[in-house]
Symmetry: C2
Subunit: 120 residues, 2 copies
């Protein structure tokens, strides 16, 4: 696939408010669909749809545990890249130049996608 086309798909995947919210929630720890629905207050089908888009485009991966399906960030460096954009555009508004990161947990994450003990 064309380099430009690949980049376009990545950015398109990240260009949705709700998907970014899902990523930010998941980046702390892998989560089941139900947990994401509760956290984001979006409808279950809508969350499922966005999760599919994120998975199909290489942002997330899944792991089944009984009836639950856990989603997690495929490569934690994706969070670094998102953080980089946030840093670059932090001062595009005059006010609010707090240095809050997109995902506060990303620095201490081990960057090798180890999964925690199973949660229900």
């Amino acid at each position: 696939m064309d380099d430009l086309k690949k980049l376009q798909l990545i950015f398109q995947t990240l260009s949705d408010y709700n998907r970014l919210g899902i990523i930010r929630f998941i980046c702390e720890r892998e989560s089941s669909v139900g947990e994401i629905v509760k956290a984001t207050k979006l409808s279950q089908p809508l969350v499922s749809h966005h999760l599919r888009v994120l998975k199909e485009n290489g942002i997330l991966e899944t792991k089944r545990n009984g009836p639950f399906i856990f989603y997690y960030i495929r490569d934690k460096r994706i969070l670094d890249a998102i953080n980089l954009f946030q840093e670059l555009f932090k001062n595009s508004d005059i006010k609010d130049r707090t240095s809050s990161k997109f995902c506060s947990g990303w620095i201490i994450s081990n960057h090798n996608n180890k999964t925690k003990e199973d949660r229900q």
Copy 2:
């Protein structure tokens, strides 16, 4: 503005194939609209439209020189961030793992947006 909303706008701005093509062309050296039209083979109004979107969202800035308007990357680190995404998703296809960068000129660029001598 909401952090997530700001990120969403950045990614939305970058999620268009033609806009990425324009950025890649401009990143070598600032260019007039006519030069971009020639290089991308897009219509002039379409190029003008995309340039406006890129400018309004903080990717590009402009400089007038007579009847010509030159567009250039506001902050060269934006190219680094785009390159980072390209690196991260380089191996999502099996074949083609060449290490071509989004913008080949970005490493030696001075990162302070100095403009070259005027071109017609």
